[in-house]
Symmetry: C2
Amino acid sequence: MENVKIAIWGFGAMGAGMGKMLMNKDGVDVVSVCDLHPDRVGKSISEVLGIKGLENVIISGDIEEVLNKGKIDLCLLATDSFTKGAFSKMKLILEKKINVITTAEEMAYPKAQEPKLANEINKIAKENGVTVLGTGINPGMIMDLLVVCLTGCMETVETIEAKRVNSLSPFGVTVMEEQGVGITEEEYNKRQAAGEMAGHVGFSESINMIADAVGWNVEKFEQQMKPILTTVDRKSPYGFAKAGNLAGINMTGQGYVDGEVKINMIHPQQIEPELEGTYTGDYITIKGNPEINMAINPEVDGGIGTIAMCVNMIPHVINANPGLKTMIDLPVPRAILGDMRNFID
Amino acid sequence: MENVKIAIWGFGAMGAGMGKMLMNKDGVDVVSVCDLHPDRVGKSISEVLGIKGLENVIISGDIEEVLNKGKIDLCLLATDSFTKGAFSKMKLILEKKINVITTAEEMAYPKAQEPKLANEINKIAKENGVTVLGTGINPGMIMDLLVVCLTGCMETVETIEAKRVNSLSPFGVTVMEEQGVGITEEEYNKRQAAGEMAGHVGFSESINMIADAVGWNVEKFEQQMKPILTTVDRKSPYGFAKAGNLAGINMTGQGYVDGEVKINMIHPQQIEPELEGTYTGDYITIKGNPEINMAINPEVDGGIGTIAMCVNMIPHVINANPGLKTMIDLPVPRAILGDMRNFID
C-alpha cells in the first residue's frame, strides 16, 4: 500500500503544526501545501518549519495546483473558524473527491448554527464519495466528546458541567489581540458593543453535540462574555496586562432542555492565571447515576491538542462512509503511533 | 418502528441491573430472561426486581424458549468472565441471528488471550449477519477505552499508566469471597498457590486494546497479585477484615513494547479504603506530548458502570456491521436518555 497522501490548506500555527507532526509519522506524506501569506508562499515546508526532509514540497498560493498534485487522500483545512467561511473551500476539495478534516470550530457540529450548510456539505460529500469532519481540542474533544464518552457509564444524567480553565500565556500576538489581553475595561466594553470580541467559538456546537448524542433536545442556547480584570500586573511572552486591565475573558454558555439548564459551559481564558490563584485544568461534572467528577490538570494544551486531534482522525475519516461526520459518529480518537497505513481498513 | 426487543441471559446482579435500567427507558422492552437460579426461575421480572410493569415476563431456565420469544434484536449475556465459558452461549445466540453484548471480561478484547475463539466468534457473527461486543466498566472503559480516547489529543506517547483504586464495600458476599476479604495472609498464600484467587480479570485485554488502538505491539505481558493487609479493623455491609488480615487485593500489570514497560496497570480493590487514608478514584497518566493527567474522584461505580455500559451500547451494536467488535471499533459510548429507537439507524 502506498503512503497516505495529505494536502494542507492554511499553513499558520495549526496547519504548520500538523505538517510538522506528519513529518514525524510513518506511512504518510505531506504532498502539497496551500498558503497565501507572503512570508510563506514559494518556500519549502522544510524551510518554513526549520526541519529537513521536505525541501521539495513548495508552498503554493494556488489551491488548484495543490489539490491536483497526484492522488491526494485527505486535505487538512486550517483557514477558518466559521462554517460559512470554510464552505466554498470544503466544496472545492470534496468535488475533487478528496476527504476533508477542518479546524473550523463551527464545523465540529455544523448543524448547531448552520443546518442548511451542514445538509449541503453532507450532500456534496456523499455525491463525491468522500467524508468531511470538523474537529479540534475544543470544540471536538474536551468540552463535548469526552463528556459524551463519560456519560456512557451512566444510567441517568441530570445535569452536565464542562469547565475549561486555560492559560493564554503560550499564545502569540494574534490571540492576545483577539482575546483583548491588556486592554482596559472601557475598551473592552466598546469592542464588545461593536461585536468585535469573538471570544471562544464552539459552545453552541459542543452543547448540541452532547445533547444529540444522549437524546436531549436543546430548546434554548445562551452565552455570555465577561472581562477578567487582573488586580496584579501579568506578563506573558506576547502579552501584558496592567493591574486593572484585561488578563483575558471568561465565557459561559447554557443549553436548556425541558425548561432547565441541563448543560453548562464555563471557559475562562487568560494570561498567567496562577498569579491570582487560578489553576488551569479541564473539569467535567455530570450529576446523575453514578455522578462523575473528572479533572485533567493542567488543561490539555490547546495548540498541540488541536493539531493532534486533526492528524489522529485522518484514518477514521478515510475509513468512514461518505458524508458529513462529527466526532460522535466515528470510533474514538487515538494517537497514531505506528505506520499510518496500518490504521486504514 | 417497533420497540427494541431485548433478551437477558443471566439475571444475577449485572443482568438484573440491566433489566431494571431497561424498564426505565423508552422505546425498548425486555421480552425474555433466562436464569437457572432456583430463587428466580418461574418468577416474573417484576417480582424479582420489586418493580411493577413486567409481571408477564417470567424467568425461564430454558434458553431455547427465551431466544425464540418473537423477534429479539439483542441478547445481553451476563453469565461468564472468560471467553471459553461464554463461547457456546454466544454461538447459540448468534446462530439465531440475534446480536450479543456480554459482560464477560475477556470478551472486551478476546484476541488478547483467545485469538482462535475470537476469530471463530467473528466468523459465526458475520455468517449470521449480527454483531457481538464485550464491554463493561473495566475492562471496556476506565482502564482502556478512556485511555485510548485521551491519547487522541497527543502527538507522541511515551508511557501510559492507568490506575483504578476502588472500594469493595458496596459489594456482596460473593465478591468478598472472590477477593479474599477478611482471610489471613496464610490463607491467601495457600489459595493463591492453588490458583484459587481470581482477582481482576482484564489487564491483558485492556493492555492489548490500548496497544492495538495506538499501533504498539505488546511483546510481553505480566501481572502480579498482592494482598492488602489492613492495620485496623475494617467493616463493610458484607465484609469484615480484622487488623492483620486481608482488606482486599492489589493487582498490577505491565505491557512491554520495544523492550520497555509502556503500559502500566494498577488496580487495588479493598473494603473501606478510607480507614487507612486511601481515597478511591480512577487515574490516567500519559507521558508524551502533551502530558495528560486525568483523575475521576471517586472512582466510577463499577456495578452501575458495567450495567450502564452494556445497556448504552445496545444501539451501537445493532447499528454496527456484522462481526466481532470491540469498544475501539464503535462510536463513543453515550447515555441513552431519549427513546432508544431514535438511536437506531
